[in-house]
């Protein structure tokens, strides 16, 4: 029903209670599946959840504020390396290292965000891409701290004496973190903060005359986006237990952009759907290889090519992404016989 009786109904996370039931059921199913579906399924679920966190972060910047970043893998790297170094070299407990990695990425994001006040569009994309290369180079050169090109090992996290040393166990950590990320992002975006970001995206002139400090809000968007991505990086490091710069390349940055475009720019649900689809895409490719002609099956760079094709198809035929499709389907069902 579209009928509202008071203003707080407009502010709910879900407009109807049954959607909470849906969400809880899906969460429960995923928990059961992660524990009973075998190691590989649990690994994939972890990876999907981590990518969702990063995609939510990028969507705040790109989908909501309209600022593009081709350097988000670097924020993930900063989070991952911070967490690995803290836990292994300085014996900081994981529950503390996780938020610190987010904060560290956020701080770097704040610094990177400052020049972004003057850059837009393609120039910002280039600047953030350069930032990605710089971070890469620093990690490789700073051998004593980061392990350089050889990479760095991380440890399975321990919380209160319990060691999360397998993928199914680790899923509890990603599960809770994702929950907190989604809740905090939703809270920020449904209120005046989210509106201000979207206002900047739609018209900077009007946003400014409404009293929005463009510089401050753009920097905040950059910072917040980097915090979430840094958290994802930390979780990633403790999932795969060995990180190197190969895990955080330009292609990873691009894959985050593909996630939010495919899922739907400017919505949390879109980031979730997009991250899910793009994370399982390599599986889909691997699965369908048997049906492909040998020349394509064995071609190098098949995965990158598929990313590119998927991105192009979505931009041309469904620029609102999966989320837009979902909304369209809902409207179609509601008005079905008409």
């Amino acid at each position: 029903m579209d009928l509202r009786e008071n203003y707080s109904q407009d502010l709910r996370i879900f407009d109807e209670f049954y959607k909470w039931v849906w969400l809880a059921s899906i969460a429960l199913l995923l928990l059961i599946y992660s524990q009973a579906g075998g190691y590989y399924a649990a690994y994939m679920l972890n990876l999907i959840f981590i990518n969702i966190i990063a995609a939510v972060g990028l969507n705040i910047l790109t989908g909501y504020t309209g600022l593009i970043s081709l350097g988000h893998a670097a924020f993930m790297a900063i989070g991952a390396y911070t967490s690995a170094i803290l836990t292994v070299k300085l014996s900081v407990p994981f529950w503390l290292a996780l938020p610190i990695s987010g904060a560290m990425a956020g701080f770097i994001g704040f610094v990177v965000g400052l020049p972004s006040l003057r850059l837009t569009g393609i120039y910002l994309a280039l600047a953030t891409m350069a930032f990605g290369f710089i971070v890469d180079e620093i990690i490789i050169q700073w051998h004593s701290v980061t392990g350089g090109a050889e990479g760095l090992s991380a440890l399975p996290p321990t919380i209160c004496g319990f060691v999360f040393d397998s993928y199914p166990k680790y899923f509890f950590i990603t599960f809770v973190t994702l929950g907190l990320v989604l809740l905090s992002a939703k809270n920020l975006l449904r209120g005046s903060f989210g509106r201000s970001l979207a206002a900047i995206r739609d018209s900077e002139t009007a946003a400014e005359t409404m009293g929005i400090n463009l510089g401050w809000y753009k920097t905040l968007a950059f910072t917040l986006s980097a915090v979430y991505t840094g958290l994802a990086g930390s979780l990633y490091a403790h999932l795969i237990l060995f990180i190197s710069t190969d895990n955080f390349t330009l292609l990873h940055s691009i894959s985050f952009i593909v996630m939010i475009v495919v899922g739907g720019l400017g919505s949390i649900a879109g980031a979730v759907m997009g991250a899910f689809f793009i994370t399982i895409l390599p599986e889909i490719i691997a699965f369908s290889k048997d049906w492909l002609p040998a020349a394509i099956r064995n071609a190098a760079g098949l995965q990158a090519a598929v990313y590119g094709i998927v991105l192009m198809l979505f931009v041309i035929f469904r620029p609102t992404g999966f989320y837009g499709l979902w909304i369209k389907m809902k409207i179609w069902w509601k008005t079905f016989p008409l």
Binding site: L11, G191, D202, S203, A207, M210
Partner: protein, 259 residues
């Protein structure tokens, strides 16, 4: 007492002098219209007041405050709101969200307390909605409340922009060609709203307008610009019979047309 006054305002773009030493006083509580042929510098005045343009010289004083010392995003907090000639709405957002943006300057809860969205920050958001709803009622926008701006006809978009400016609860409202793109009936309604805005909300209005019927109908005073200079100022009936004004609009009688 001085309310809003422009003193010797001059600005040029390249070789074009858009405003040439314009002096203009806006009195509290009046409806002042600025008219003039295309390119006379009407909108430039608004852009200077809202700090989107930086004048080469001159002063803008509002309630004894030097506006030049404020940044563009601080102007609305001083009590100056405006609308734009070529609608500047947030096109991917709904009507209610656009109007809610007008509440931005009234927010008290910071960024961090919004993460929890509970208690104080939630109540503040509810207060924003209540206030936005008053504006929607005032302008009869209920039917369009949840529609996206892109779906709305031009005339309604103009109203939403007016509503968004009113939500700022300004002391003075700069309206840049609100009537353009409106049909006859909408313009009629607009005249009533303009007087309502002054009478009921006590807001001083500065209009840039091309619709002479509207201008003559609602204005207390009219200022006429031509080529960046103020050529006349006075009550509507004075302006209608002013030689300079007739010349600016219709040419100087020897057959040369200046449009």
């Amino acid at each position: 007492m001085e309310f809003l006054s422009l003193k010797n305002l001059t600005i040029s773009f390249g070789g074009v002098v858009a405003l040439d030493g314009v002096n203009l006083d806006v009195h509290e509580g009046e409806i002042l219209s600025i008219i003039g042929p295309n390119g006379a510098g009407k909108t430039t005045i608004f852009n200077c007041i809202s700090r989107l343009y930086k004048p080469d010289s001159g002063q803008i004083v509002f309630e004894k405050q030097d506006i030049m010392k404020h940044k563009a995003y601080q102007v609305s907090k001083l009590g100056i709101a405006r609308t734009f000639q070529n609608i500047e709405l947030f096109t991917n957002m709904s009507v209610i969200e656009n109007i809610l943006l007008g509440r931005h300057i009234f927010r008290k809860c910071g960024f961090l307390s919004q993460i929890f969205f509970y208690g104080k920050s939630r109540n503040e958001e509810i207060e924003h909605r209540r206030s936005a709803e008053e504006v929607i009622d005032f302008l009869d926008l209920q039917a369009h409340r949840n529609k996206r701006i892109g779906e709305l006809p031009y005339g309604v978009q103009k109203l939403v922009e007016l509503g968004r400016a009113l939500t700022l609860k300004p002391k003075v409202l700069l309206m840049d060609e609100v009537s353009s793109g409106m049909n006859f009936e909408e313009t009629q309604d607009l005249m009533i709203w303009i007087t309502d805005i002054r009478e009921d909300l006590g807001i001083t209005l500065v209009l840039v307008e091309h619709d002479m019927r509207l201008v003559m109908g609602v204005s207390d005073r009219i200022a006429v610009l031509d080529y960046g200079r103020k050529i006349a100022e006075g009550r509507p009936e004075e302006i209608q019979s002013n030689e300079e004004v007739i010349k600016a609009y219709l040419g100087d009688g020897d057959g040369t047309f200046r449009g």
